[in-house]
């Protein structure tokens, strides 16, 4: 018992030391925890330390416009954004973030360098070519504007409009579906009209193109 008791004692000492180690904290709801710490200790679990997530369940945040990230986090916190990806994961995590922490998190991920998406191609070369065409020219016959008009010529995003280049195709299709079929993302209400006439095939093609950028 002596040895185990010694180790248990050491745990208590380490714990006492750990209580003040706010730089490694995973505590949500403490305004003193720096945003950078939250990004590293909490957000990185799903989005990657540099915002280049590997799992398509979680969007890539690297290089996203700061303004866009701030609005999304604020939307999660207020429950204004209520798509499944939002309420299943982000509502709770953002619940007690301060405005300062949100600003800091937006700044942290906006400053990360986006890397090329390592996922296998989400479509055939022909589908990617069609997706490229929709991205640059829209579908004039169905009143669908080009994505590049708001999201930038290279899908790099700007201001309120997210970066799309390199984003996971699966995430893009799911979000396009959310815009088209629900009111779960009121901050992106402009996308409701844009996506109204998009077919499932259109979405897959444009998402395949964007993931490959």
């Amino acid at each position: 018992m002596g040895r185990l008791a010694t180790i248990a004692g050491a745990v208590v000492v380490l714990a006492a030391a750990g209580c003040s180690d706010i730089e490694h904290s995973r505590t949500l709801g403490n305004p003193d925890v720096p945003a950078r710490t939250l990004a590293q200790q909490v957000c990185s679990n799903c989005h990657g330390i540099d915002g280049n997530s590997t799992s398509p369940n979680f969007p890539r945040l690297a290089g996203q416009p700061e303004e866009y990230l701030r609005i999304q986090l604020t939307g999660f916190r207020s429950h204004g954004r209520s798509d499944p990806a939002g309420f299943e994961y982000m509502w709770g995590l953002s619940h007690h973030l301060t405005d300062g922490q949100i600003e800091g998190l937006a700044s942290y991920f906006a400053a990360q360098a986006p890397t090329r998406n390592p996922d296998p191609p989400a479509g055939t070369p022909e589908q990617i070519r069609i997706g490229s065409d929709i991205f640059s020219h829209g579908v004039p016959g169905r009143n669908i504007p080009p994505c590049s008009g708001c999201h930038g010529d290279h899908g790099q995003g700007k201001g309120l409009f997210p970066r799309l280049a390199g984003q996971h195709a699966d995430y893009l299709v799911k979000q396009l579906t959310v815009f088209q079929q629900t009111h779960q993302r009121p901050a992106g209400v402009a996308m409701s009209a844009v996506t109204h006439e998009l077919t499932r095939e259109n979405m897959k093609n444009v998402a395949a193109f964007l993931q490959a950028q």
Binding site: R3, I7, D21, H24
Partner: protein, 489 residues
């Protein structure tokens, strides 16, 4: 199972489903008020940490939550409760020993409240968190009058200190775990503690024995281990266990040396674990190995008694594909055990052999080997509907010491055995070999409730497909239908 029995079972399941639906409705109405402690702490849905919501299987994120000491989130009231209602139907419970009161498993064919647990679970400080479970088993044991009695016992406990050093180039999670079950601290669901037969009360006949590493020390020991997980690639852990008595008995409440429900370790037992992992896209894979070396006293009441030595090792692997609405996973585990018996146990007269009439078997062996292979595949759609298929194969050496269970033994060696022992436990082969499949379909109407039906088929039990007990009991007589409603708050 015979056609008539199948019809009876179907009718019974229909009535149970109706009862279950009423229970689920009650659960749903309570949903908004109470959530499991970890979900309250992180504010996330169950699917964040559990693959397809299929508790307790962990997602990559859930693994990191556990490895970082359950410390992610906001400190909250660290209490949760869990309960299971189930109905078990074993194919054949006829008892050739003639005891009309023989009742295995408990209340065979009846819907019963099986078990309930209380959890103390959550974050304590920036670096310390824990998961401590106490469980009430409603049908724990038979009293001398052969009435079922309930009992509250310690269940899994894992208290951690963890820290994480992470930047753009390095990611090191380091931690210490104080726990009461080798592998309960593991985060992959191919390890024994969280791998197979996870629904409380399921597969009640199950494996007749298993390597010590597979639950043989659960809630009987206390151990401290250090672990490190580097760049989400390499995991290594080293722990040491000792008997959970005296100060440490809070981790083994309800288990006693005197009634044989607790083993006594001699000295400390080292346990080691390594794993290689990789996540890419929606995929996650782990390949690992583990080992345990332990000496158990022959008489747990006597710390001075001789010891048997158990040398266990195993390899395991897990694959997951998680991309909403799909969650698929596969686990595989192989455990090998070598038991070296103390000289006082080896070379003893073998037991009475029912199959041979009166002949004695060879002298008992000085060692045994045991191999347990298990594999499981699961799929969940929309975190609501799914199924599981699992396979188990236990093999072991012949030892006349394992032959047991027949009353009226002319040698008198088995005089201590209860003549009321159900024949399910008899073994005339002297081997543990058991093989079978379990299939399950389940439904999660809400994220805190799961209901399902399992069917376990045995193709071999205790060394034989037919007449393994010497009284005509076949392996398939142990086939088991199991219905359950499992909720947690």
């Amino acid at each position: 199972m015979r056609p008539r029995q199948l019809l009876d079972a179907a009718a019974r399941i229909h009535s149970l489903l109706m009862a279950g639906a009423a229970l689920l409705a009650a659960c749903y109405s309570a949903n908004g008020m109470a959530v499991p402690a970890f979900a309250r702490q992180t504010g996330e849905n169950c699917v964040a940490c559990h693959a397809g919501g299929l508790f307790p299987e962990l997602t990559p994120y859930g693994r990191m939550f556990k490895l970082t000491g359950y410390t992610l989130g906001e400190r909250n009231i660290p209490l949760s409760v869990m309960g299971v209602v189930s109905d078990t139907k074993v194919s054949n419970t006829a008892d050739p020993n003639g005891d009309p009161r023989a009742d295995f498993p408990a209340k065979n064919g009846s819907l019963v409240f099986t078990t309930a647990s209380v959890f103390l679970a959550g974050k304590a400080t920036n670096n310390i968190g824990g998961f401590v479970q106490m469980t009430y088993n409603n049908y724990d044991h038979l009293d001398p009058n052969r009435n079922w009695r309930g009992k509250t016992v310690s269940d899994n406990a894992d208290i951690r200190y963890a820290d994480r050093f992470i930047d753009n180039r390095h990611d090191l999670v380091f931690g210490l775990s104080l726990n009461n079950n080798p592998s309960v601290q593991d985060v992959w669901n191919s390890a024994p503690a969280w791998g197979f037969d996870l629904v409380p009360g399921s597969n009640p006949i199950g494996l007749p024995t298993a390597p010590l590493l597979s639950g043989g020390l659960a809630q009987q020991v206390a151990g401290v281990g250090a672990y490190a997980y580097w760049n989400k690639t390499v995991y290594a852990e080293l722990s040491a266990y000792r008997t959970a008595d005296k100060f440490w008995s809070f981790m083994s409440q309800g288990f006693k040396f005197s009634d044989g429900s607790r083993n006594r370790l001699s000295g400390s037992a080292p346990y080691g674990r390594v794993a290689l992992t990789r996540d890419w896209g929606p995929h996650s894979v782990m390949l690992g190995a583990m080992g345990l070396e332990a000496k158990l006293h022959i008489d747990p009441n006597d710390p001075g008694s001789p010891t048997n030595r158990y040398s266990d090792w195993g390899v395991d692997g897990q694959y997951q594909y998680i991309l909403d609405p799909h969650a698929a996973s596969a686990q595989v585990s192989y455990l090998h055990e070598r038991i070296k018996y103390d000289a006082s146990l080896a070379g003893q007269p073998g037991a009475y052999d029912a199959s041979a009439g009166t002949a004695l078997q060879p002298l008992t062996s000085s060692s045994d080997t045991l191999e347990l292979f298990r594999a499981k595949a699961s799929y969940v759609y929309r975190a609501a509907y799914g199924g599981t298929l699992s396979y188990f194969k236990l093999r072991g050496s012949y030892n006349s010491a394992s032959q047991a269970g027949i009353p009226g033994d002319p040698t008198g060696l088995l005089a201590g055995f209860s003549p009321l022992l159900p024949s399910v436990s008899n073994n005339i082969t002297g081997k543990p070999d058991t093989t079978g499949w379990t299939t399950e379909v389940f439904w999660l109407p809400v994220q805190y409730v799961r209901t399902g039906v399992q069917y376990t088929m045995f193709s071999r039990y205790l060394g034989a497909a037919r007449n393994y007990d010497g009284w005509g009991r076949d392996a398939k007589d142990n086939d088991t239908l199991f219905f359950y409603v499992w909720g947690a708050y």
